[in-house]
């Protein structure tokens, strides 16, 4: 039986949820607001919140100085490519771990996750040297593969968790009906796990989009994505906060819009199987 919730309690919960939401969103909001200020207004003390002379000058300067579209295309290619490649590899891996586990499955899962605990800088030189030898330094392809490898443990773990929620009997029934392994995964498992796969896809796209260590260290002029675009406006000698904020806003805008439109799928996927 559902528990009765009073109107007062509902209002309180809503207020708390809004307060937490605003608190989390505030740094992004502040960045967006700062991008419309002059450099002097950006460092004003006390800070100005809404009542200032809004200007688009910073966007004009950023647009003039940098080839935004090239950075954007590189981000889309690298984040999209690494996520799709990761899903293609992770779906069969997660299927095997969820439905045909071996004695070592749990150990393998833990080992995969443990690779995320290694500080990235620890393997910078080996990977850099491999990139030089293969001639893929400053290439979108090289970066796509590296980001796919970095996010693969998370993709496998997420898919494994979703697949575990699907009753194995359904797959058995498909097998009894004569479905091949490929058909079983493609036409039975995947449609049932769509919310999980979609949220994995979105989350990993966001992770790859925001990745800043490898994207800065393995690129120069050709394959640099939006993280490098932001880094080019940061300066320890000079106050360019308004321009930096404009660059940041331009860099996060596509992912914010994507997140806004796909929030339903994202939440549904992340809570998939949470309530039984």
């Amino acid at each position: 039986m559902a528990r009765a919730v009073t109107t007062q309690r509902k209002a309180l919960n809503t207020a708390i949820a809004w307060a937490i939401g605003l608190l989390i969103f505030f740094p992004i909001l502040w960045t967006i607001l700062t991008s419309f200020k002059t450099e002097a207004q950006a460092i004003a003390d006390p800070p100005v919140f809404l009542f200032f002379d809004w200007t688009l000058e910073n966007y004009a300067v950023v647009q003039e100085r940098s080839n935004y579209m090239r950075f954007l295309w590189n981000s889309v290619f690298i984040a999209g490519g690494s996520t799709i490649l990761g899903i293609i590899i992770a779906v069969p891996a997660a299927w095997s771990m969820a439905f045909v586990p071996s004695k070592r499955t749990k150990d393998i899962l833990l080992w995969m996750l443990s690779t995320k605990m290694l500080p990235a800088v620890g393997v910078l030189y080996p990977i850099y040297l491999i990139f030089i030898k293969l001639g893929i330094l400053d290439s979108r392809l090289g970066l796509t593969v590296v980001l796919m490898l970095i996010n693969l443990p998370i993709i496998v773990w997420m898919l494994y968790t979703y697949f575990k929620e699907i009753p194995g009997e359904i797959l058995e029934a498909a097998r009894m009906d004569g479905a091949s392994l490929r058909n079983e995964i493609l036409y039975v498992l995947t449609p049932m796990a769509i919310p999980g796969i979609a949220s994995t896809l979105l989350l990993n796209f966001i992770l790859a989009w925001n990745e800043a260590f490898w994207t800065l260290n393995l690129t120069a002029a050709q394959a640099a994505p939006l993280t490098a675009f932001i880094a080019s406006y940061s300066s320890p000698e000079g106050l360019f906060f308004a321009k930096l904020s404009a660059a940041s806003t331009m860099a996060i805008a596509p992912i914010l819009i994507l997140g806004w439109f796909s929030q339903k799928q994202l939440v549904r996927g992340l809570t998939f199987g949470a309530v039984k």
Binding site: I43, L216, A231, P236
Partner: protein, 439 residues
């Protein structure tokens, strides 16, 4: 085997042809790694002039200073060849030059007039007399102060004040009720931030990082005197939370009229006198960095952002053409024509300071005097085994000084005493130097 030999011969032929084509002067695209500051951004805007003259195009990779340092270090130590020109400083140049990681700039054209480069800059960017990087702009440090507050305090800033005068003036200018701090100085951890500032301050008290046998000197009284003086003055007249203030934080405070004095990079002079950004632009004066009474050495540093060619590049000739263009007197005139004399890259060439147009800039002479007062080969009172004023030009320094500056910042924040910080600095430094084989 025959096939392998044939392939080898073919690839050798292709590479020889390609190299010959480049050497022949064919237009190419240069990839240049640089920092994000006003002068470098201005250069990017004027690159069309270089392309027009040479046919070469340029791809810029602009990064924040620390990111850039890590990025170019990774590339040069692995001979990666991702960049044809790198923007590096006085710390890296002699170390990388000694390792043959850079192309020597010993065959620049006569028109370039290498003798016009300020001697201090040339010395700091050379190894064993060979120039390895050409200075794009140079800087030292000096005092920037509020003339109105100084006058209100009934004091007059000498051209070359002592630390004792500065402390007295700072106390007189401090007005806590109106949020005016007599003095703003760097305290932020990091070898290039607070670490650089406290090192030059210590030099002016006669302290040094190492004796001639590479023994750390933090247990000597000069260091305790310098650090106690700094902490005492900042507690009396510095802004709250100065332990986390770096260049940008102090710039922001000064521009908003919250500092009576600020001692920092000469490049800041153009920011604090720019009326678009600074509320105190019309009341800023300049003086040489202070020294302690009875000690001649001043607390000013020397730094240059310079352009160097990594040994791994295939486009060394075109890269040299770019360096000659970007660091020439013609380039300075190009900037003056487009952006005005106040915006030309300072501190690199003697002829700039002989130029009548540039002499009118209020901070030009003090910048030159500050640069000339700095000697990287003789940074402090006692002899030292190293080169460098605000740094020690050895590869281990960045790591050691970062840790030491963290200890100092903890003392500024009141988390430990100055004596404890110095004791830890001594242990950290000696241990690292022993591990590196210096002792």
């Amino acid at each position: 085997m025959k096939l392998r030999n044939a392939l080898f011969a073919a690839s050798a032929l292709v590479s020889v042809t390609a190299t010959a084509a480049l050497a022949d002067g064919h237009a190419t695209t240069l990839t240049i790694a640089t920092v994000n500051n006003g002068d470098m951004i201005r250069m990017q805007g004027l690159t069309d002039d270089f392309t027009e003259k040479t046919g070469h195009t340029v791809e810029w990779v602009t990064l924040e200073e620390n990111v850039l340092r890590q990025r170019v270090t990774t590339d040069i130590t692995t001979n990666g060849g991702a960049f044809d020109i790198m923007t590096i400083g006085m710390y890296e140049t002699p170390i990388w030059g000694a390792n043959d990681w850079l192309v020597p700039l010993d065959d620049l054209s006569d028109d370039y007039n290498v003798d016009d480069i300020l001697p201090a800059m040339r010395a700091g960017l050379s190894y064993e007399g060979t120039l390895y990087a050409a200075p794009f702009y140079g800087e030292s440090s000096m005092i920037m102060y509020r003339t109105d507050l100084m006058e209100a305090a009934g004091m007059e800033m000498p051209d070359a004040p002592t630390w004792q005068f500065i402390r007295e003036a700072a106390a007189a200018m401090t007005d806590r009720d109106n949020e005016i701090n007599g003095i703003c100085l760097r305290g932020k951890a990091g070898w290039g931030e607070g670490g650089a500032f406290i090192t030059v301050t210590a030099n002016s008290f006669g302290a040094r990082w190492f004796d001639e046998d590479w023994n750390a000197q933090f247990d000597q009284p000069q260091w305790a005197e310098a650090l106690n003086f700094y902490v005492g003055m900042m507690e009396e007249s510095g802004p709250p939370g100065y332990a986390t203030n770096g260049f940008n934080e102090n710039l922001s405070l000064f521009q908003q009229g919250k500092c009576g004095m600020w001692i920092d990079a000469t490049v800041a002079a153009s920011f604090v006198t720019n009326p678009d950004d600074s509320t105190v632009a019309d009341s800023v004066g300049f003086a040489l960095a202070p020294n302690s009474e009875g000690i001649e050495k001043k607390s000013n540093w020397l730094w240059a952002w310079a352009l160097a060619i990594p040994a791994g590049t295939q486009k060394a000739d075109a890269a040299k053409e770019f360096i000659e263009w970007a660091t020439s007197t013609d380039y300075i005139e190009l900037v003056a024509e487009n952006e005005g004399w106040a915006n030309v890259p300072p501190g690199a060439r003697i002829s700039l300071y002989e130029n009548a147009n540039y002499k009118d800039i209020p901070f030009a002479q003090k910048t030159l005097d500050s640069i000339l007062a700095a000697d990287p080969t003789d940074p402090t009172v006692d002899p030292v085994p190293y080169v460098g004023i605000q740094f020690v030009a050895i590869p281990e320094f960045a790591g050691i000084a970062t840790e030491v500056s963290q200890e100092f910042s903890a003392a500024y924040a009141g988390q430990q005493t100055v004596e404890e910080a110095l004791e830890k600095a001594q242990a950290i430094t000696n241990e690292a130097m022993e591990a590196a084989g210096y002792r």
